[in-house]
């Protein structure tokens, strides 16, 4: 299942990347793939901005504006003026 196209904030810095493959392991939507020893973003629109890749990248090669894709949380955040957090 795919969500909206071309909206995610995921950025992968190939200069900093050492192709360790940690992002490939942790991504729950298989956004990254390794081929020929190089790690690349192959399914960008599948990204849900959970932030697992960025948090587990020891080299700071991934940036993403992490957050919960939860409408109720965003509304709660708007009403209370705080960051959207789920549950």
């Amino acid at each position: 299942m795919k969500y909206l196209k071309s909206v995610v904030t995921l950025r992968h810095d190939e200069e900093k990347c050492t192709n360790c493959g940690m992002c490939v392991v942790v991504c729950p939507h298989r956004v990254f793939a390794e081929s020929g020893g190089k790690v690349r973003i192959t399914e960008r629109d599948l990204c849900m901005e959970c932030g697992a890749c960025a948090r587990n990248c020891p080299f700071g090669a991934i940036e993403v504006e992490k957050g919960v894709g939860c409408a109720a949380a965003i509304i709660r955040g708007l009403l209370t003026g705080s960051e959207p957090t789920c549950c």
Partner: protein, 391 residues
């Protein structure tokens, strides 16, 4: 393993339990303590085992007895699942954080890490039959692994502290811990290694794949690393959605009832089932039929089904017969799809694949449209009421 006495036993154990039960029995043995974890579970295990049927024994370790848990779910465990699915006590369904085990693990046995939401813990242990393993339960305040990782409670700091507190390095000789893959949202594996000396290996997403993961030398197939959202996954989430949606609807029904009571409103059974149908469409039908409804935005999917419902309600009740009235028909067309769209949009939080950027974009368009449509519908229905009373 069966040594269940709290403050007696062998010298080494006495030393340990004295530590635990000696200084402040209140905090140790009180059942409402927040952060006792390992000590409480081991030290006060005797009473634990009587109240918690899923603790079936104790395994002695150099640092004390560790509760051994059953890999079979009892009726009460399953009843607990059901209650959570219906939003009954869902946010309080916790177990004590700390160290547990299945089977008879030793210093070489694998270590699994999980959250202290009891449904999460139960779904893990039911997949571990025949295994000898340690289970470190983090304090996620009763939230499942993925959501807790998003909040940061299933996180690097809690993990490192908990490993230290349960003295895992005195229990196992290896230095590898297995985390559910979705825990990676909150845990930085390289930080954990630096701070605790334990190497984090991310296991499969679903507990049902753990046996295969362990037997294949800690390798997870692509399929085990991919989050799914099957029709069954979606179906079990809908009762919580329906209950959450009905709460604000009670207010709406209250307002309509008041309008009737003061002699202005003309609301009846049709309005009741029209509105309830919109809730059902948005909070149940759209989630269940999600991948088969055209469009990508959840609110759009909910709007489409809601529109079908609104047209249906109008046709069933005699539209376009003159007696039915255009105002009523237009009101339904404005209000019902908006309600359905709103409750569908709320399902983004339960889904496994929506991003914050995407939901933000969707809401910027959908929310103003819904508000305007519902407000216009409310004005129209009041105009209709006035015409019926005074016209």
């Amino acid at each position: 393993m069966q040594n269940q006495s709290c403050c007696s036993g062998e010298a080494s154990e006495r030393q340990y339990t004295a530590n635990c039960c000696g200084n402040s029995s209140q905090s140790c043995c009180g059942d409402a303590g927040q952060d006792f974890g390992h000590e409480q579970a081991s030290c006060c295990g005797y009473s634990d085992a009587r109240t918690k049927k899923w603790i079936i024994g104790y395994v002695p370790t150099p640092v004390g007895n560790v509760p051994q848990v059953s890999t079979q779910l009892s009726f009460s465990d399953k009843y607990g699942f059901w209650k959570c699915r219906w939003s009954i006590g869902r946010m309080r369904y916790t177990i004590d954080p700390g160290l547990y085990c299945v089977g008879n693990p030793d210093a070489n046995s694998p270590v699994l890490v999980t959250a202290n939401y009891k449904m999460t813990f139960d779904r893990l242990r039911m997949e571990l039959s025949g295994l000898d393993a340690w289970i470190v339960v983090l304090n996620t305040y009763g939230i499942n692994v993925w959501c807790a990782a998003g909040k940061g409670t299933f996180g690097t700091e809690e993990l490192v502290n908990r490993l230290h507190e349960v003295r895992l390095s005195d229990i196992v000789s290896h230095r590898t811990i297995i985390l559910p893959q979705l825990g990676a949202v909150g845990v930085a594996a390289h930080e954990v290694q630096k701070q605790s000396g334990f190497r984090v290996v991310y296991g499969p997403i679903r507990a049902c794949d753990i046996k295969e993961f362990l037997s294949s030398g800690l390798k997870a197939a692509e399929d085990m690393r991919t989050v799914k959202f099957t029709i069954l996954n979606r179906l079990v989430l809908t009762p919580v959605e329906i209950i959450a949606a009905l709460k604000p609807m009670v207010v709406v029904f209250g307002v309509l009832f008041m309008l009737n009571a003061i002699g202005l409103g003309h609301y009846g059974l049709v309005d009741l089932y029209a509105l309830l149908g919109a809730v059902f469409t948005g909070a149940f039908l759209t989630p269940v039929l999600l991948p088969w409804i055209p469009g990508r935005a959840f609110s759009f999917k909910g709007f489409l089904l809601g529109l079908l419902w609104a047209v249906g309600v109008n046709l069933i009740n005699g539209f376009p017969a003159p007696v039915y009235g255009w105002l009523k028909a237009i009101t339904y067309i404005l209000v019902l799809p908006s309600l359905s769209a709103f409750f569908s949009m709320n399902f983004t939080g339960s889904s496994t694949y929506t991003s914050l950027s995407g939901v933000d974009k969707e809401m910027r368009i959908a929310l103003p449209v819904m508000i305007i449509a519902v407000a216009a519908g409310a004005i129209l229905t009041l105009v209709n009421d006035f015409i019926l009373v005074f016209g």
